[in-house]
Point group: C2
Chain length 210, copies 2
């Protein structure tokens, strides 16, 4: 089973590495890191990841994972990821996104009229791009699974492991990564965080249209 | 403020990328990725990360983050990380670990008689290495902060942001990464996972002495 983890400049690493850690250790999988060129990709806080294959070289994958970015409109404008998704999504078993990676799925036409989730600050933008936006943390619609912001990739991928390999395998994976979360604050959603922090975060993350 | 994210072969990427995503976007920080050599480092499920500096070149850091590995005994036997920690820990403001990264702190003498946590499956081994082992998800003792297995790095780093920059900044960060966890199963700790999965995971992860 071939896993394609998509890389692009200024992506948010945790969006990708959560699902990678959950999916990448399953038996019989091969993890590919696919980008526009073979050059190392620099993420938005400086991490440098080396691709293993390019968009031109990889024609198919069983599972595709598309991460988001704090400057997601640049990836949207660039178009390279969306163009590749148009090529590989029709034959993929699962096409997934985390955070604003959903906007790239939408740009490829994959979310037209389809239920999907995204980072809480860009819900309006994803709706403008054609999706039926949900506030759920993980949304599955047929072969497409979307996760909310950044850390939601872990929940998204555990859900996917359960769908593919069953509950026992998903629970074993959760136990292996000791995913028994204990956030030291209760500020992980716009419903629970202080209002002024929500306003500030929205202004930084939501893009030009909101 | 200089952040040193430690890299070594077959490390577990999420151990490092959780804290990286939480700490790396704070104002005034510079993220360094430090390894034994400048060569790209391959993680335990195939992700390739490029170091920005070597152990020889980096003499100090304000915050050090040491990830773990599913084959943690190899890093312990290699000795390179522990040797570097002996050099830089005395002048670091914060020395931290996630998962079995704690065993490397212990090997450097940093955890002698000190409260610390680690992946649930290696608690006995960490005690043998001299730490006073806690089952807490995050343990702070003076300048040393340790996190439990893999995903606990997110909780560890949010705790650290609160200690350094205050509660508002930590909550803002939590909101930015939408860390409102909703695991699809309740199997993230040995207390809640099915017993046979705990036994299997322990046999794979605990190392040769248990």
């Amino acid at each position: 089973m071939d896993l394609a983890f998509v890389l692009y400049p200024k992506m948010t690493a945790l969006d990708l590495i959560g699902p990678y850690e959950v999916l990448g250790h399953q038996e019989g999988v091969t993890a590919h890191f696919v980008a526009a060129t073979p050059d190392p990709v620099t993420c938005d806080a400086g991490l440098v990841i080396t691709p293993t294959v390019t968009f031109d070289e990889l024609d198919r994958a069983d599972i595709i994972v598309v991460p988001g970015s704090g400057v997601w409109e640049a990836a949207l404008a660039d178009g390279a990821v969306a163009a590749w998704l148009r090529k590989v999504h029709p034959t993929a078993t699962w096409t997934t996104s985390v955070c604003t990676g959903s906007t790239l799925l939408a740009a490829a036409g994959i979310l037209d009229g389809r239920p999907a989730t995204t980072h809480w600050a860009v819900r309006d933008r994803l709706a403008e791009l054609g999706a039926v936006v949900s506030t759920d943390r993980v949304v599955r619609d047929g072969s497409v699974v979307t996760g909310a912001g950044v850390s939601a990739g872990i929940d998204m991928a555990l859900t996917l492991v359960g769908l593919i390999w069953g509950d026992d395998r998903a629970m074993f994976t959760q136990l292996g990564i000791e995913y028994d979360p204990r956030p030291p604050y209760d500020a992980g959603s716009p419903e629970t965080a202080p209002g002024e922090l929500v306003t500030l975060a929205r202004s930084l993350l939501s893009g030009s249209a909101t």
